[in-house]
Subunit: 444 residues, 2 copies
């Protein structure tokens, strides 16, 4: 590009809002992304960099000169920095970590010492702390002095000399108090907090369910070590949902846990994409062949009455659709808290009832259609009954398998769809052909 | 329950945190929920009520005496009240609306005048406004005076006499300023705002992408009419994802747009559940029968070589799994902004390449297995080729159909899975049997 058009672009970028630049960056190919990013003013570049997903952040970092990359990394908030480090090759992370000033290096190493996807890993170790003996005026003064350095000043944490969390108060509540009122009279002592090893999904749930702006993180000794804010809550929520959706569709990444799977599945190399997509397709291949073996076992029935094969797709599809509905309802209901382990059996009972009633209805309709279409005595009855039973089994499995996987500690969603598909195919086809043999045996 | 155990329960409830009570409420059956809720202190009851989903809110409201219900409704934040009204039968909404004091009635009616799922419908009409001529000290005084009444005081909006939005400044930035500094020197004039008719998904995207605490809503004349805060952003995000997931799995509620579908699908009556689940199952039934018709058309081939039927499941399943992967990747990538309409063709090209390469690999493996298992000349070749082609078509369709539905204004996800299932079944089976006839025709 010529110098002039670069100047023009720089001017244009100045007039765009941050959200427009974010969209622009996502829309462009790698080389252009790097160039656009280079043209941004320093402060703006940092703001926008922090909002990019880690896949794009990594690409940009790799394209920068070392000094530029180091400067960016240094300016990031500690929790954002850790998120980026989690995605990068260990070598690069180590090198970049070394270039940080001592205090930031320690802070980052502390966070990286916690397990991925826990509160400790995600928290921001700097927060606004006050003492319970402070007056409203003193507390406000402290906030004013700290505002420059601390990202989240709207929730104030009351700690004792040993950093033990004694209470919490919002800046709004402080501002509503009288100047000489003591914080201990105003603060809320019943603090909802999480441990450093609390799962990130639970943290997001608290932030969302209670509309909290931040939730404090304490260590084993109840000392306050950091806070997780609403914006992290949104990111976790989206990340967890995306994970569940991908895992269910057989897009579980078995090798690494990473948060920017969408970007990778779309902008990654073909090999990266294969690594995520192929494993479950191969599992499904053997599932499909196993279902075929059921048909193979009844080859003689098929040779006698080929019309029997006409209803194989409907048995397979209906089982699949009914099962997917159930597994979707279970997965969502479980995450949203509408299904709890305590009441699981009650929910399962209802699901079986729903599945059986829908199966009966669909079975009767399909049986009548089959009978009219292929007027072979007994075939309509076999189709209808098999469909009703398969749908009942598929809804039950769709509800039960994710629950059992979850219960036995397997990531609830990973590949649940291919597993359900295989089981319902085999059982559905087996039921169908057994019924065919039962009702149509005399014709063979 | 005896009086004493009720007293005990009341004491126990006092010691529980709000999040524990929320979980408790979700865990219990209807009658118990009502009783637990009645035992809560007034202030707490309101807080918790606002955090419940609308399905449970509605159940509670219906079980209360009129005066109790009216008192609760009156105390709710205007945006939460509108969300609840949206879920209730029009009659009840109208009656409850009438019981509100005049100012709240007008406020609520104003919000309900906007289309559902737009910024206007979701916003909170009360916000913190200051003037650009205010000094830092004056602005802080204004915040202090308003803190009691206004829910969100951490973002301050600078408006002129006609309520036109001139700038925005965070309370943190105000607190960082010098006492006699004018707001106009500190405020950010480049305000990111939305219109009253902006789609809620876009609003949530801005809140999330920019880590904003609130986004202002303006009318056609650029007058500030309300704000949408981060907590609404989280709710929208979860609601939209839940909607997409449900719609995709054939759980689209065709009659009404409502946000508490998970609760309804789990705790609703069997008839309510049928209304959501059956329509797409019926569509899928006819899809499955149509796929069966393809097999019917090749009945003679089947009669000659029944072993051909063994590979029907694998063709159907692999097409389904590959297609689901693609539609999931498209849906997520589109929502997360990794796929943009401008670059759709490029993404599609890559998806076809991925599908074809995976299809080739899986096809070769499956063809070799088929050949070893059923050593009929040409069958392995037909299975392998059909599988490769079907997977390529399924990935292409999985990516394209949601995009086309979206482009032509149909809710992108509604029933996309049953539609993809039907098309890939028909095309997959057609390809398979045509190839069988081609390669094995001499055996028939």
């Amino acid at each position: 590009m010529k110098n002039e058009s670069i100047k023009d672009l720089k001017e244009t970028l100045k007039e765009l809002s941050e959200i427009e630049i974010l969209e622009l960056l996502r829309d462009f190919a790698s080389e252009d992304q790097v160039m656009i990013f280079r043209l941004l003013e320093k402060e703006r570049a940092l703001n926008i960099f922090e909002e990019l997903d880690q896949f794009l952040q990594q690409k940009l970092i790799e394209s920068f000169t070392d000094s530029r990359a180091e400067a960016l990394i240094q300016e990031m908030a500690p929790d954002d920095r850790v998120k980026l480090f989690d995605e990068m090759p260990a070598k690069v992370t180590k090198r970049l970590l070394e270039t940080l000033p001592k205090d930031k290096k320690e802070e980052t190493a502390l966070l990286m010492g916690f397990e991925p996807e826990t509160a400790g890993r995600l928290m921001n170790p700097s927060y606004m702390k006050i003492k319970k003996e402070d007056t409203v005026q003193e507390a406000l003064k402290k906030v004013q002095n700290a505002a420059e350095d601390i990202e989240s000043i709207y929730t104030l944490y009351v700690t004792d000399d040993k950093r033990k969390l004694e209470g919490v108060i919002s800046l709004r509540e402080v501002m509503m108090g009288k100047e000489d009122q003591k914080i201990k009279e105003l603060m809320n002592e019943n603090v909802i907090k999480v441990q450093t090893d609390t799962d990130q999904e639970e943290v997001a749930g608290i932030l969302k369910d209670l509309d909290f702006m931040a939730v404090p993180v304490v260590d084993k000794e109840s000392r306050l070590v950091g806070v997780i804010t609403y914006d992290d809550g949104m990111d976790i929520l989206e990340e967890e949902m995306t994970e569940d959706i991908y895992d269910k569709a057989g897009l579980a990444n078995l090798k690494t846990k990473e948060s920017s799977r969408s970007a990778k599945l779309i902008d990654g190399s073909i090999l990266q994409i294969w690594a995520v997509r192929l494993p479950f397709l191969v599992i499904a291949l053997f599932g499909g062949l196993a279902a075929g073996a059921v048909i193979g076992a009844f080859e003689e029935s098929l040779e006698a009455i080929a019309a029997v094969a006409i209803f194989i797709p409907v048995i397979m599809d209906m089982g699949g659709n009914a099962g997917t509905q159930s597994s979707t309802i279970f997965a969502r209901g479980f995450i949203l808290g509408h299904i709890t382990p305590d009441r699981f059996l009650k929910h399962l009972g209802k699901e079986v009832l729903v599945g059986a009633s829908m199966g009966t209805l669909v079975g009767v309709v399909a049986g009548l259609i089959a009978n009219a279409w292929q007027p072979i005595e007994g075939l309509g009855l076999a189709v209808g009954l098999a469909l009703g039973l398969t749908m009942t089994i598929a809804t039950t499995l769709g509800f039960m398998i994710p629950f059992l996987l979850q219960k036995f500690g397997v990531d609830q969603a990973a590949g649940s769809d291919p597993i359900i598909t295989t089981i319902k195919d085999i059982s559905g086809l087996l039921i169908y052909f057994l019924l065919v043999n039962q009702f149509l045996g005399h014709l063979m």
